[in-house]
């Protein structure tokens, strides 16, 4: 069951490579966050208690509700951001790149985790997410899409944390979630200001600061 969720997580990444709508990007992020919630919940099902529920529920609230709502209301609607992402490369090439990278990640993860006590599937799923998140940041122009790319990357890192080191103390995990929330909040404010101070065609360039 755990593996099914992880594979779904990977498939959501492929959807990122095929869609061109900003809201779809956000929906993929929400879907991933819900999957993350279930992945965290799975091992806890046998010994449920109020204390163990805090972390998964916080993930659900912060990543699947608070952040997407904030981005949707404060950024996408308020700024009337055009619905298409602006890509630097052809959509088909992006898909090819994503697929090849994911295959490479899966194969290499399978090799390096052979002699270690780690499950290759969540590990590879997590790493794919980090890589695709980076691609989104590199190959898309819009700032809001960059933020979503960053969030996809963060989701990957979270999954990696679950895959390799569930030993990270619970308070630290909460601290990380809080930090990410504030980062997104500040980035939202910044995007708002950028769109009101810069002319539309400058926004995606942001190249005033040079040597």
């Amino acid at each position: 069951m755990g593996n099914v969720l992880n594979i779904l997580f990977c498939l959501s990444l492929l959807y990122l490579a095929t869609t061109t709508r900003v809201t779809a990007y956000l929906q993929v992020f929400v879907l991933q966050s819900i999957l993350l919630f279930f992945i965290v919940m799975m091992p806890l099902l046998n010994h449920l208690s109020v204390f163990t529920l805090v972390l998964p529920l916080t993930i659900l609230v912060v990543k699947a509700i608070l952040i997407p709502r904030y981005m949707k209301k404060k950024i996408i609607y308020e700024l009337e951001i055009k619905t298409t992402i602006e890509a630097n490369i052809q959509q088909f090439n992006f898909l090819l790149l994503s697929v090849f990278s994911m295959v490479a990640v899966f194969v290499s993860c399978n090799l390096i985790t052979k002699d270690a006590a780690v499950d290759p599937i969540p590990f590879a799923a997590a790493f794919s997410s980090v890589v695709i998140g980076l691609y989104v940041i590199i190959f898309r122009k819009k700032l809001i899409v960059h933020v979503i790319g960053f969030l996809v990357m963060e989701n990957g890192i979270f999954l990696l944390g679950i895959a390799v080191a569930s030993e990270m103390p619970f308070l630290i995990e909460l601290g990380i979630l809080l930090d990410i929330f504030v980062v997104v909040f500040l980035m939202g404010i910044a995007i708002n200001k950028i769109s009101s101070t810069f002319a539309a065609d400058e926004v995606s360039a942001l190249d005033k600061l040079k040597n």
Binding site: F150, M153, M168, I172, V183, A190
Partner: protein, 484 residues
């Protein structure tokens, strides 16, 4: 535990309380008090006069002592000068920024202290990310286009970078799989003690990710752009804070990793990586020193250069390591003075472009003299401390017979010196091209920024000549930690 109250809880309380609207002056006075208390406490800890009993989440070793003192010292001077800075006439309207300035400063102090004394890399990460969050609004102080872009770049690049550092921390956790370190809770002290039990491949991977990730925040090339933009377009006190103290907070994470790898086969690899990072930083600083047309950006690249030297020295080890720790102290003193003076120039000329600024030495007597002195210190003229620390780094190179590397470094430093002096002398001595631009020579009043820069430079000169024994003790302890 009482000391922890002074260095950790007090800034947090102050940061929280100041969100209540109230008098700017009161906030300033209280912040100054907090910073004095913090400085006193850090000095007591540094000198070993207070050895607090700590919870296992905290750790105060030689590294924390040194970096805590640097942070506390820089922070004190920055807060002291912030009143003068906030009240000066300016063409921008940063009223909103002024309201939150002191709250954020105090929260920054809290987060930074927490990062320095944490005994858990996860806690360190959370605190480090919090410092980014505190610094971002401060960079945007002027609320204009450039500062907005600088803030966005800093926030985004550093957040992505630190996310990579977190992958590195996870790899480190993974390298401890199956050992008792994990059961104990993955604390730094256990990692350092039990480093031989770690899986070396994962440790290596962890080091690569953490080094690359923290480079964005420390300003090590090629990950430096966010840091350079932030330093050039933030207000001078903030730039001083970021360049002189926050880079150190990122560096301590790298040094912690060196502590863990010391005595393992990975250590040599880590050293090579650090030397490479340091060399790239020096080369990048060299190239851009001839390209920049903005004097604050020039200082920012000088910051990249000196962080590069520190990382390089730490990578080489031996005498160079001691030199690099000294360099850390001296660089923090020098950069604070330099950014404060650059701020004065910026206020008078209202431009950061070198071509708009001429004849500072004539128009702004005190600022000119102090900027020139700080410049002489930054290019490592004796008797300023940076001369002695660079000499130590070179000695470390000679001891290890790395003459080619030494020659390259000397060559690069020479050309950085040429590039930097070209710009600096044009600011200090040049004549305005048209008559209209030539400002009337005004008699500049000696103010608190000049006093601060003077004291900092005097400290820098005297510390080079008479280093107190307690400093050498702590630095020797650090060297011992890294050469187990």
């Amino acid at each position: 535990m009482l000391v922890l109250f002074y260095i950790l809880i007090l800034p947090l309380l102050a940061g929280g309380l100041f969100f209540i609207p109230g008098g700017k002056k009161l906030k300033y006075q209280l912040s100054l008090m907090v910073s004095v208390v913090h400085l006193a406490a850090s000095y007591l800890i540094f000198a070993g006069l207070v050895a607090p009993e700590l919870h296992q989440w905290f750790r105060i070793d030689a590294f924390s002592k040194l970096f805590l003192l640097i942070l506390s010292h820089v922070y004190f001077w920055v807060v002291l000068n912030s009143w003068h800075f906030l009240n000066r006439p300016t063409v921008y309207s940063p009223d909103k920024s002024t309201k939150i300035f002191f709250s954020i400063m105090n929260l920054y102090l809290f987060a930074n202290t927490l990062a320095l004394i944490s005994n858990h890399l996860g806690l360190y990460w959370v605190a480090l990310e919090s410092t980014t969050l505190c610094v971002a609004p401060l960079i945007h102080y002027y609320r204009n286009k450039e500062s907005l872009e600088a803030m966005w770049k800093y926030l985004f690049l550093v957040s992505v970078g630190i996310a990579f550092a977190f992958i590195g921390i996870l790899f480190l956790a993974f390298s401890a799989h199956g050992t008792d370190i994990i059961e104990k809770g993955l604390f730094l002290s256990d990692l350092i003690e039990g480093s031989s039990k770690l899986n070396m491949v994962w440790l290596k991977a962890g080091f690569i990710f953490i080094f690359a990730g923290l480079s964005t925040k420390a300003g090590i090339a090629p990950m430096h752009p966010g840091e350079v933009d932030a330093l050039s377009y933030s207000p001078s006190p903030v730039a001083a804070l970021v360049s002189a103290s926050l880079s150190g907070t990122a560096l301590i994470g790298i040094f912690r990793l060196m502590q863990i790898t010391a005595g393992t086969p990975v250590h040599q690899f880590a050293q090579v990586l650090m030397i490479t990072g340091g060399m790239i930083s020096l080369l990048v600083a060299l190239v851009f020193m001839f390209k920049v047309t903005n004097y604050k950006r020039m200082i920012a690249y000088s910051s990249v250069e000196h962080i590069g030297l520190i990382v390089l020295g730490a990578g080489i080890g031996g005498a160079a390591l001691i030199g690099s720790m000294l360099h850390m102290i001296f660089n923090s003193l020098n950069k604070t003075a330099m950014f404060l003076m650059a701020g004065n120039i910026h206020r008078t000329y209202n431009s950061r472009e070198t071509r708009d600024v001429k004849g500072v030495l004539k128009n702004m007597r005190w600022t000119g003299i102090l900027f020139l002195t700080a410049f002489l210190a930054v290019i490592a003229m004796p008797p300023f401390g940076l001369f002695f620390s660079e000499l130590m780094i070179f000695r470390g190179l000679v001891e290890q017979n790395r003459f080619i590397l030494l020659a390259v470094i000397l060559f690069v430093l020479l050309f950085i010196f040429i590039g930097m002096s070209r710009q600096t002398f044009s600011i200090l001595y040049g004549k305005a091209e048209s008559e209209g631009e030539a400002a009337e020579p005004k008699s500049e009043k000696f103010n608190i920024t000049h006093l601060s820069a003077l004291v900092l430079l005097l400290l820098l000169a005297s510390a080079g000549l008479f280093m107190p024994a307690v400093f050498t003790d702590v630095i020797n302890q650090i060297a011992g930690e890294l050469s187990r």
